[in-house]
């Protein structure tokens, strides 16, 4: 089995008619995903690339039986799209959009707390893929292969790096979850680890963190207490200067807190095999299995 998405996933694409939405909907379909349609307010009733388009998520769910959605709408409208998807009862909402105002996400997360049946992944993330089964997001399927390693990552392209290494080494992946680089996200490292902990097919996990915040420290504490599978960890930003925001809104070292050194030490103390070079993630997994 895989986590979050599999062959039962019926995926809706919010923003399907846009350039990125179209490109990635086609890729998701090519990767085996059942893409059931799209939502673009004002374009309901039309068709796009053979998919039906709906004005509202509610109508799309009613007509297509969608159980998951992936969001490719511009930042100013993305929090609204997340809340609409949750309100329509979708079990999984994956938001790819980068650059959503923090206060918009604050409202969206508050809205989601009252709708515990919905899991949000992201925003500002590459999404989720279960190779050979389904994907919701932008992770290139052709670098993946079915296998037994889970990937949980705060970074986008660094996730692809880990996936690529695992594929080259013949290990493959069960499910890869890009949790997103923003300060406010729907699924934390710990949430994602909880999911893969219960997945029998996942034999080991690659955990990718970044400077800023304390999510990796929380993951380390949770791993120490609860997680029994081998974990390889990498923290990006070992050489980042303090006080500067390194691209991701969440990646900033403030007041000596959230440094790579602290996070690496916490993970190592929890039994995680921490690699200093991002090129060593795959090799370290192979050595542990």
């Amino acid at each position: 089995m895989a986590v979050l998405i599999d062959t039962h996933t019926r995926l809706l694409v919010q923003g399907l008619t846009g350039r990125e939405g179209t490109f990635h909907a086609k890729n998701a379909k090519a990767a085996g995903t059942t893409v059931v349609g799209g939502v673009t307010p004002g374009k309901g009733g039309s068709a796009h690339e053979g998919w039906p388009i709906f004005d509202t998520v509610q109508a799309a769910v009613r007509e297509t039986g969608a159980n998951a959605s992936v969001i490719f709408v511009p930042p100013a409208f993305a929090a609204d799209a997340i809340m609409e998807a949750a309100d329509a009862g979708l079990a999984l909402v994956v938001c790819i959009t980068e650059g959503i105002p923090t206060l918009d996400m604050l409202r969206a997360l508050t809205f989601l707390k009252a709708r515990p049946a919905t899991r949000l992944v992201g925003p500002n993330c590459p999404g989720v893929i279960s190779p050979g089964r389904a994907k919701a997001g932008i992770i290139p399927a052709h670098i993946c292969r079915e296998g037994r390693v889970g990937v949980v990552s705060r970074s986008g392209t660094l996730t692809y790096e880990a996936i690529h290494q695992l594929t080259r080494l013949g290990l493959g992946q069960t499910t890869c979850i890009g949790i997103g680089g923003d300060p406010l996200i729907g699924t934390s490292h710990v949430d994602a680890l909880r999911l893969v902990a219960d997945d029998d097919e996942t034999a080991a996990v690659v955990l990718i963190g970044e400077i800023g915040g304390t999510a990796e420290e929380e993951a380390a504490a949770w791993i120490k207490a609860n997680f029994r599978k081998p974990v390889v960890g990498f923290i990006a930003g070992q050489t980042a200067p303090p006080g500067r925001r390194m691209g991701h809104a969440g990646a900033i070292i403030a007041g000596g807190q959230g440094t790579a050194a602290e996070k690496m030490a916490a993970l190592a103390a929890a039994g995680v095999r921490v690699v200093r070079s991002p090129a060593d993630m795959g090799k370290a997994v192979r050595e542990m299995l």
Binding site: H24, T102, H142, P183
Partner: protein, 386 residues
């Protein structure tokens, strides 16, 4: 986006936080005029985007307008070095001239978003006027907190709890509650990511005022605050960083000699890390973003090459939304237009990688390609040293 103290005070003042009377001045004579209008003792404060100004000589008392003018003349144009500016310091181009106040107590009041809880959290401390991060590290019990329910806002009892906890007496607590509530309103209305009043002072007359204020605004929300864009002080930013921001490129200037162009913040940081592990020093952080186009790639390349310290360039792209063929076309166009001042190492993988490699190969340009990050970093370090 960081803004100046006087701008932060104007925002807080509009929402009902009491601030000292004062005005910004861009010249010594203006500073003298402001001091004359205010009357009495004034404080002249250098306006830079960094704390620790007092210790660096950026905050001075003036007893007369003439003295204010003299002090402003010294400050304007000086390079102020504090523990937050780094050794290069910041050039002072404007000063805030404010009424001098007799203080009885210095407190701290701040608001940030608590990531783990997903809520705004208000923090208060009786240990105002000090570096709050130092207080948090050495005496965390001296900081009290209130988590705010986003749908409800700051509730009066929370402000009362904070006020009593930092030792305010009866009549001062309602005034503190008013300031806390105004601070929360200012935060939400301006899309701030951080507001700090440090110190919040109790004057000898018993009034509460924001003596210093710091606000950081959410870059992602600037689109809905056209007025806030005017608060940007380009003089506080690196010229290459400003140039990069015009093309939606996320660039941070560093001290090394290997220019980096990467897509994705995490991979960009990891690329810096791997350059260091290979024995080199990155010249910058540059995230061209997930969906960069050929035009952005061309501009990114131009900005990298305009850093005189750069001796080699490492392009590390893992194609997701950004396709490798788009990257390759952008790089080829940039090299054709700008020439190849330094050797370039390209490592790419992901969407349309074969097409991208073909474009690079058929360009006939002397670009070094590498298959893995290790190889790429090693090649860039070698070429930078050669």
């Amino acid at each position: 986006m960081k803004i100046h103290e006087y701008q932060a005070k104007a925002i807080l003042g509009r929402h009902g936080v009491a601030v000292p009377r004062g005005e910004v001045a861009f010249s010594a004579s203006e500073a003298g005029d402001v001091a004359r209008r205010l009357g009495g003792v004034v404080v002249v404060k250098a306006q830079i985007h960094a704390g620790g100004r007092g210790k660096g000589g950026g905050v001075k008392l003036a007893r007369t307008p003439a003295e204010a003018e003299t002090i402003a003349a010294q400050m304007l144009g000086m390079t102020l070095v504090t523990h937050q500016t780094g050794p290069a310091g910041r050039m002072v181009t404007r000063v805030l001239v404010e009424e001098g106040l007799q203080m009885a107590r210095e407190l701290y009041l701040g608001l940030v978003i608590d990531r783990a809880a997903g809520k705004p959290v208000m923090m208060a401390s009786a240990a105002g006027g000090m570096d709050i991060e130092e207080v948090a590290a050495s005496t965390p019990e001296r900081i009290v907190r209130a988590a705010i329910e986003p749908g409800v806002g700051l509730v009066p009892f929370q402000a009362r709890q904070l006020g009593f906890a930092i030792g305010l007496d009866g009549p001062r607590v309602p005034a503190f509650g008013g300031i806390a509530s105004a601070l929360y309103d200012a935060f939400m209305a301006s899309d701030a990511t951080l507001i700090e009043i440090n110190p919040l002072v109790v004057t000898s007359g018993g009034a509460l005022l924001a003596l210093d204020a710091k606000i950081s605004l959410d870059d992602n929300a600037l689109y809905r605050h056209p007025d806030a864009r005017e608060l940007r002080d380009a003089g506080e930013e690196d010229p290459l960083e400003i140039e990069a921001s015009k093309f939606s490129l996320n660039y941070i200037h560093l001290d090394g000699n290997i220019g980096c162009m990467v897509n994705g913040a995490g991979l960009a940081m990891a690329t810096m890390d791997i350059i260091k592990l290979a024995g080199g020093q990155p010249a910058n952080f540059l995230d061209v973003g997930g969906g960069a186009n050929a035009e952005q790639i061309r501009n990114a390349f131009r900005i990298l090459m305009s850093d005189e310290k750069v001796k080699a360039v490492l392009i590390n792209i893992f194609g997701g939304i950004l396709r490798c063929d788009v990257l390759a076309s952008g790089v080829v166009a940039a090299v054709r237009e700008l020439g190849l001042a330094s050797p370039v190492v390209i490592r790419m993988e992901g969407t349309n990688v074969e097409e991208g490699k073909r474009i690079l190969r058929e360009s006939g340009m002397p670009l070094t390609t590498a298959d893995t990050m290790d190889e790429a970093a090693a090649a860039a370090v070698r070429l930078a040293g050669a």
